[in-house]
Each structure stands twice: as C-alpha cells, then as structure tokens.
C-alpha cells in the first residue's frame, strides 16, 4: 500500500508538490470530478488509469489551470495561485498543441519565446532528445501521429518544468518509440520532476512508474505501487454508479 502522509514525513519525505483537496468540476449537469482529494510528490511518476469519462483528462486540465474548479482547492509547489506556477508545468494534451503548417523547429522556437527562451540550440537539443531530427523541414501536418506525439513531448520538455502533465503520450506511438519516451520520463523523474501520465497503455510504464492511480466516476478509487490487473469493462462496471454523473 502507498504510505500515509505522516509515514512519509517520518521517513524524511519532502512536502508534496501537488495537493488537491475536495476538487469538484461540473460541466453543466455533468460532474467530471467529484470531491477528489490527493497529493503527489516530487521525483515520482504517477500513472493515472481509468475508464473513459473517469475524469483523468479533467484532472490534468484542472492542474494545468485550463479548467476552473467548481469547488475545492489545488495547491502546486506551495501556492494555490496556479497562474504564478505556470512556467513549472509541462503540459501535453491528446491533440498535439502544435501548428500543422510549421515545421518542428519553427514550432518549438515559437513556444520557447513564450517562456522567454531565445536559445535555438536548446530547441534543437530538445527535438533530438525525443528522437527526432531538428533539421527536418517538413511541416508538422505531414508528420506521422507518432512523430507528432514526440514533438508534442518536446514542446512540453522545452522549458524544463518541474511538473509534467501528460495526457495519452503514447497513443499511436510504436512500442519501441514509446519505450524510448518512457526511458526519457524515467530520466526526468530521477532529476526530481513530478510526472503525471494519463494512459490506457499502463504496461508501457511498468518498471518506470512509481505509483498507479486509478480513477472512477471523478474520484480516485485506488492507489497502488504495482500495476493491478485491469477489470474488464464487460463486467458490468458503471463508471457513474447510481447515475452520479447528474447533479
């Protein structure tokens, strides 16, 4: 089982990087997050699992400050003012968040400017770090889906944030490239980064992930150090028991 907060403190753990308290998010009548409380430590990879509609993406978007919680509180690096810690987030969403008409280097150069980075060398190195060629002049729109995902990861890595929020980073990525991405994430974790990965391909993170967080119906229902066998969705599990999705 995952150690409690007091046990962590006794063993010299640093305070959690992310603390979420009673987080609720409604979209109209749909409750995407329902009183979620959790904390996440530095230098760990968290794999967030759950069925579609469990609230995984909403959780990441709330942490990134992209959706405003209906209720509850998020504290990141000791502050509840998420706008002040924006430079510390590396966010990767399901879409690429890249301009299709520009090539990889042009995209990264633009996003680097948003973080006050003027160094083109850094963009080249980041592209190379995810296994792509910085000299590639093809526009992103002509990349394969896997290449796009890796370039999207490069965009998230570029400004060397402390916290990574990665939503389905391995979707449409071939297994060997995904393993390379996992290796890179493990290296970043070893330098003290906190990494939250939402994925349906948890097996890819086995051996690298420190904790598995299972979500259901907008709540965390389980946190384990080992990947538990998946329950089949055909076993009659209702992702929103008792019609709970309606307020």
């Amino acid at each position: 089982m995952v150690p409690s907060d007091s046990e962590r403190f006794q063993h010299g753990y640093r305070p959690p990087v992310i603390v979420i308290n009673d987080l609720v998010k409604h979209f109209g009548r749909f409750a995407a997050l329902r009183g979620l409380t959790a904390s996440f430590d530095a230098a760990r990879i968290y794999t967030i699992l759950g069925d579609n509609g469990a609230g995984k993406t909403t959780l990441l978007r709330a942490l990134a400050g992209l959706v405003r919680p209906t209720r509850g509180c998020i504290s990141v690096l000791g502050t509840t003012d998420l706008s002040s810690v924006r430079p510390q987030f590396g966010y990767m969403a399901h879409p690429s968040l890249l301009y299709d008409e520009m090539n990889g280097m042009e995209n990264l150069r633009y996003f680097a400017r948003l973080y006050g980075i003027e160094d083109d060398q850094r963009c080249s190195k980041t592209i190379a770090r995810v296994g792509l060629d910085p000299e590639l002049r093809r526009p992103i729109g002509q990349y394969s889906q896997g290449m796009r995902q890796r370039m999207s990861l490069a965009r998230a890595l570029l400004h060397d944030p402390k916290i990574f929020l990665l939503d389905e980073p391995f979707s449409n990525v071939d297994v060997s490239s995904a393993r390379e991405m996992v290796k890179l994430l493990a290296e970043m974790r070893d330098t003290g980064k906190t990494i939250l990965v939402v994925t349906h391909q948890a097996q890819l993170l086995e051996g690298a992930a420190d904790e598995y967080v299972r979500m259901q119906a907008g709540q965390i229902v389980d946190r384990t150090l080992e990947l538990q066998p998946l329950r089949s969705p055909w076993q009659g599990q209702d992702p929103h028991p008792g019609g709970a999705e309606e307020r």
């Binding site: 987030f89 966010y91 008409e101 400017r113």
Partner: protein, 225 residues
C-alpha cells in the same frame, strides 16, 4: 525588449508566416471585396459627383465585411490541435497575444485596402476634392477601430457553436460609431465640402477607448471556459 513586446513580436511573426503559407485570410478577403466592388459598380451607375458622395459608405462597408472573414480566420488556426491551450498554460501575458492578433489583422486588412483602393478609384471614377492626405489617418484609425474590436469579439465568440454568425452580430453594432466616422470623414475628404477633422478626432477617441477596454478584458476572455 520587454516580455510583452517580445512575445507579441514572436506571435505576430508566427501569424504572418502561417498566413503567407496558407493565404486563408487574404485570399478570401480579396475575393469578397472584389465581388462587392464589381457588384456595386454593376448595380449603380453613378456620376462623378454621386460617386464622391456614396464612395465612403461603399468602401468601408466592403472593407468591414471583408475584414470579418480575416477576423474569423485569426482564431480558427489557434483552435486546430488546441494550440491555444499551449499558450494558456504558458506564462506569456494574454495581452501579448491580443496585440499580436490585432496587429496581424491590421496588416491583413491594410493590404486588402491597398490593393482594393485603386480598383474603387477606377470603377467609380473617384477624384478627391478635399485634402487627400487626410485619407491616410482615416484609413489607419478606421482600420484599427475595425480590427481591435473584431479581434476581441472573435476571441469572445471562439467557443460558441456558430462563431461565424456570432462575430458580425457582436461586432457590427459596436462598430457603428467608428463606421459613421469613417464614412463621414471619407465623404468629407472626397467632396471637399466640409472638414473631416471632427470625424478624425472621433476615430482617435473611439480607438483609445476600445483598445484600452479590450486590453483590460482580454485576459478574462482568453481564460474563459
């Protein structure tokens, strides 16, 4: 260079590059404005005197309608692949994005005006009787009045289902004072009967008020859900 101007310059340069490659906005604007000029010239057959009186209205209405096409395109490319979210999670100031978009649209509409004005002159046999140089401040201030509000309201209607319809519904009523000033100033310069000064001052005031208002409110609009 301050962070705001640096990011605004990078965003403007990115937008110009994207437009240069896709030519989405400029082609549709030009085609639309050209259609308006040709259709109006077939519909009316004005004398030189009548042309001077109606040209101000025709020119600015054509530019306003054509500008809406560009304004819709401005934000549409930020929605593809949800790129706007990458901007929202960055520490970049919201106003840098707004200013870059507004200046980008200003450039696109100015290019349109530069290309279409000679056609208007030819089709309507226009010859100004007043001080022609005053058309420059009218064009600059009038174009800014259209794009600053247009950029803001296009961002506001970004998350609505029918944003192409929503933009003109929001933009046209609020642009009436500016449009009135542009039309009256242009007509005054073309006919040479009255001074355009009052209308130019009105345009300056309109631009100052709405630019300030848009800059103050844009962060709320950008981060709205």
């Amino acid at each position: 260079m301050s962070m705001l101007s640096g990011i605004a310059a990078a965003t403007l340069s990115k937008d110009l590059r994207l437009e240069w490659r896709s030519k989405d906005a400029i082609n549709s604007m030009l085609f639309f404005a050209l259609l308006v000029v040709v259709i109006f010239s077939f519909s009316f057959n004005p004398t030189a005197e009548e042309s001077r009186r109606i040209a101000g209205g025709l020119v600015w209405v054509a530019f306003l309608f054509a500008a809406v096409v560009a304004l819709n395109q401005t934000w549409a490319r930020e929605l593809r692949n949800q790129v706007l979210d990458a901007y929202r999670v960055s520490p970049a100031p919201a106003n840098a994005l707004f200013l870059a978009k507004a200046f980008g649209n200003f450039i696109f509409v100015s290019v349109l005006e530069a290309l279409m004005t000679p056609l208007f002159i030819v089709f309507y046999s226009l010859r100004a009787l007043g001080p022609v140089w005053q058309l420059i401040p009218v064009a600059v201030l009038g174009t800014w009045a259209l794009v600053v509000n247009g950029t803001f309201f296009a961002a506001m209607s970004l998350r609505t289902r029918s944003r192409e319809i929503m933009l003109p519904l929001l933009l046209f009523p609020i642009s009436i004072p500016a449009l009135l000033a542009m039309v009256e100033a242009t007509s005054a310069i073309l006919t040479g009967e009255v001074s355009a000064k009052f209308w130019i001052v009105l345009l300056v005031a309109y631009d100052v008020v709405f630019t300030t208002g848009c800059l103050l409110l844009f962060e709320t609009v950008l981060h709205a859900e």
